[in-house]
Symmetry: D2
Subunit: 140 residues, 4 copies
């Protein structure tokens, strides 16, 4: 499981004085960057080099996240298919889970507009962060 610490930004708080739901997706995307580097080590954004496309997001907002206190973002792998993989993410603040999400990402060839098989060595790296569905949201 990957973990990173983040400081909520003043502008990420909304009118109800808690982090706006759309911000959570930006945090999760940032936390997935370490996985993206398995596919694109230098994160080069050219159509020739970038090979990932997000096709689905699911997020449950479990509690309100407040300003002035850091959060921890957790990242793990829930499923590895032939050409796609599912990443799980969580936000924790003050020892409570505040949001959890799943993202389905396809290994994708932008030039020829088709999916690509995930190579074995990347599959192995992803596998190191595997978490069983029943362990989602459990503190550790």
């Amino acid at each position: 499981m990957l973990k990173m610490i983040l400081t909520p930004r003043f502008g990420e708080i909304d009118g109800m004085k808690h982090v706006n739901n759309n911000v959570i997706g930006e945090w999760f995307e940032l936390a997935r960057e370490e996985l993206y580097r398995y596919f694109i080590p230098d994160l080069d954004l050219s159509l020739e080099k970038w090979t990932l496309i997000l096709v689905r997001n699911e997020t449950d907002f479990l509690g309100q996240i407040r300003y002035g206190e850091n959060v921890e973002i957790r990242t793990y792998i829930l499923k590895i298919g032939n050409s796609s993989f599912t990443v799980g993410n969580e936000v924790w603040q003050e020892n409570e889970i505040k949001a959890k999400g799943k993202s389905i990402i396809i290994h994708y060839d932008y030039i020829n507009e088709k999916s690509m098989k995930i190579p074995g060595e990347i599959r192995e790296k992803l596998n190191q962060h595997f978490l069983k569905e029943e362990d989602i949201g459990k503190s550790n």
Copy 2:
């Protein structure tokens, strides 16, 4: 079904030259505002007056959305429960559906931190925008 036209902003485009996935959630939130006004006519953000809380988002990214061309956001009701309701949203560009999502929203008392029954007159207004699950994503 509610429809609104939106112009993608330059900064909403990401490095792959298409609208970033997290922006879609902001668009959907904006498009739901008309429904929010059924509950809070003046959209007053005080804890006493604001009575809605988002608890779940699901989004499928079906196609890339480009800069320089307006999009249409469609909004409809998929389910009305006792104290919660499910809103469906779609993004269309150049006669193609590009993303669709579902959001579960609870009628919520922020002071006492508990859900509230949706009043009959609001239920009726929501009902006017009801769409059957099997009609999702069909152009009309």
Copy 3:
């Protein structure tokens, strides 16, 4: 002077219950799009076609902008140089000016990384929106 109407998004409001200052820049960028089309009619983002680069922003935040009420964004030209031009922007809400800004933009060749002269026909179009510095912020 160009004018456009915009609805503040729920997530654009910050913890003080007013539009966050960084959002104003996104609104101004959107409002300048009509000017950008003089240079790049289809707003094609390729390095070969896109020819504008922002080099300076100044913004004065004059009043708090609230949720639930549309704003009007005004856009005009303050200066046209050899290869750069200065755009002025204002936000109005409920007949009051809430923010005003200036942006310096350079006509720029991204491939050769150098500024380019603004062609006469574009200069003429920009000139149609010219406003004298002393008229900034005056309602009309």
Copy 4:
């Protein structure tokens, strides 16, 4: 001088494959948080406790900031007035300054809607980060 390291987010990159100009303001706001804590130690966002309001931003965009490489945000004080102070900020990437800005912030009473004198002990803390105008943008 305060320094913090930040990782540009995928969605912060725009269609020209560099960090969008409006994002810089969000980074600077985050970097100023340590100064905000001098005034509001727990960053409580209530009208009674929050006492800062931003009234002006100036930003020069000096170079393109790319994805995949961390940035350093620098923060210092340029001026301390009776009830306002001016913060300077810089973004550095790969040993080059990429943007610099100034923000004027007022010590403000939101309830009575008027500015307040900056207390002596806060003034002293701010003073520790003082930088002379002629030293702006110099690497150290």
